[in-house]
């Protein structure tokens, strides 16, 4: 047998051995499932959602009557301690914007809830509101109302629609953690005028849910 052929056979044998070893090794690891990096501390799972109810309103009929919507929280898997909502609206489109805290027996946080602040800046269109459990109160899990937002169409409104959106400083907190557990917050969609809509306009448009990043 030529010497070259012998060398080729040896190389092939080694390669074959390696491939067989890899194949067998992979099969043997299959029951253990995919490799998962174990962090030193489990990251906070973000499962809370903030939303308006209803999520779409039509106030194109006029500027005299106030429209109210509830601000809801769905905690998902978490038991939460408080919510801070930072809302942005267009002061040229909306007027008489008021946020009424819900801190009674119908409140998500119950009758002992604490309202930390409730500021409406009609100039900048900013609403800052925070409500939380009282000290010693157990965190709360589930779905419920935390506030009612009311507003009217401004006489200066020129656009056919507007939104009230949650800003990134919006937070949902749990005891013992610094990180917010807020996963997403959906804006409120407001129809201001039907007259200017094109035939193709969909009366109620859902904007993509905003995913809030830390």
């Amino acid at each position: 047998m030529p010497k070259k052929t012998t060398i080729l056979i040896l190389i092939l044998a080694i390669v074959t051995g390696v491939l067989v070893f890899l194949a067998v090794t992979n099969q043997g690891q299959k029951p253990a499932g995919p490799t998962v990096a174990v962090p030193t501390k489990a990251p906070v799972e973000r499962t809370a959602v903030l939303m308006f109810n209803p999520q779409n309103v039509d106030i194109s009929a006029g500027t005299t009557s106030a429209q109210s919507v509830d601000i809801m929280v769905d905690t998902g898997k978490d038991s939460i301690a408080g919510v801070q909502t930072e809302l942005q609206f267009d002061p040229k489109a909306l007027t008489n914007v008021k946020l009424s805290p819900i801190a009674d027996s119908t409140s998500f946080f119950g009758p002992t809830a604490v309202v930390l602040f409730n500021d409406v800046n009609v100039t900048t269109g900013r609403v800052s509101y925070a409500i939380a459990i009282n000290a010693g109160q157990a965190p709360v899990k589930g779905i419920g109302k935390i506030a009612t937002l009311s507003f009217q169409k401004a006489a200066t409104a020129t656009s056919s629609s507007t939104t009230i959106s949650f800003l990134e400083k919006t937070l949902v907190t749990i005891l013992g953690e610094n990180d917010s557990v807020l996963k997403s917050a959906a804006p409120l969609n407001i129809i201001l005028s039907q007259a200017t809509m094109s035939p193709a306009f969909v009366p109620v448009t859902i904007l993509p849910t905003t995913t809030l990043a830390q």
Partner: protein, 578 residues
Amino acid sequence: MERLKAGFNFVFSSYKRTAAVLFFAGLVLSIPITISLLGQQQDIRQRAAEGAPCVITGSGSFTDTGAGGISTDGPGGGSTWVDSPQQGTCAAGETCVPNADSGGGSTGVIAGTCHAGTAPSSTPTPTPTPTTPPTGCGSIDSGGGASGGISGGDSTSSGIDGQPGACPTGSPSSTPTPTPAPTCTPRPGGMDGFLSPDGTIGTPGVIAPPNGGSYCPNQAPTTSTSSNISPVPIVTNGTASEYKITITSTDPQGGNTIFRQYASVNEPNTGGAQRRGLVGWSAVGFEKYWGSVLKAGTVALRCISGGGAVAIYGGAGFGSEYMSVRWCTTSSSGNTRTTEMYVSFNPNFTAPASNTLYGFTEDAGGLYDNFKSLQTFNLATAPTNTPTATPIINPASDEGLDIALKITGIGEGAAALNLNPNPLHPTRTFTMNFKSAQGQDFASTGTLTYDADTGQFKGTIPIPQGLVGNHTVKIRQSGNSANMLWRNLGIAFNPSQTPEIPVVMPILGDADQNNTLNINDYTAFITCKNHYDPSNPQSGTPPTQCVEKEKYDFNDDGKIDELDLNLLLSAFRSRDGD
């Protein structure tokens, strides 16, 4: 061995035979490799099928076509919501009404159901139907609340919606012989800005409290009997700036039936001077009762004892810029209720020569006695728009700024003020920031030491080298127990001049030192208050937020308690650092 060698020689004696051997060898190798790849692919498919929830992000609009409502009908049709709230659109002419149950998602996500027509955005509060004759002094409901209830009523009010009531028979005008009870004068509902029981807001800020109820000047069983303010209000230098206003009221049906008490510094409605602050206590005390009339940036503060909460009114004409409320206590005994409201005055208080403290009381039946003048006091010695400043050493010669700093909750004062005269950390490190007009920052650090005589932390902080021109100067505590917002000293510092620095009143509570008070600071506080609660001692390692306990012990008495909680709630009235 010889045979094996001969066999090898035969097989590999030509290129054709060698190629054939290699082909079969490759064929054999491909079997385990193929098996491995197939296994991995199966794994991926299985994981995708088992774990990935059907999350629909709501991108783009869709139309609900399912009879069961949007909770079971995703944009692709047939999807089941298991995580995100419904992001959908009802068909034209339909309105989404929230489901009473949790919807179709396995995790109980709220969803709605599409109904034809326009549905109300919320379920209206039913008007209560009287089952018994009115026993209180019910007023005719004249507005205020969207639900049409008595605008200022509350769950315990006996006034009946839409009906005038009779005054209690226990009123002075009643006689043993049955006579028609005098009808009270209904108050103009909807004129006070309180929240109605259903949570809606009346027209704000036109008339002060109380809301609803009836004015029974001749029959009022509830009355404010005394009020006083102590110590004698003389606002100086930021010291002794906290005062206790005590309102004592009586009600023949018991002090525990007194529902609201108010104190007003001056009362123009009764011929007094311009208001310099109106504070109120409510037995229910929850924030909704104060509605939009609160001073901007403030909240109602729960009483340390006795229940209820105290708040300060905002809006034009109430003088909220002159006063802040800090905390309260209340108690009832027999026919008497005594409520203590702790307030502080703006150091820039420009008072009339003479001021009058008014009291106002309302009972659970909605009866009230109107504002009564109960005490006069003089704030004429109050300082003024230019706060008395602490003289500082000429920086040109000493290269240091003398700082005096008053920390809320620490200092000398009447026992009732709950000040801690002996802080556990009398020497603290502070950092000062000098910012030039061009935005250049310079830092300096120094220590301030507690002075028991004045209740202030005092010391000299060096001036950084190389400062030229005007600088704004800010200060806050540094180190492990740092919990203050940056505080602007209010001076335009120039190294060539001798500035006067007023006493600094820092704002506490910023545990994470991001220079703003938010829900994270509050959550961290209650986490640690719960952890260190002496009545419920916790074992094990404290939560990460609570390692530095001093951050939350605002009055530095070694405890994280209700006093600290109230200090934090008070701090939320000014949430952003300078």
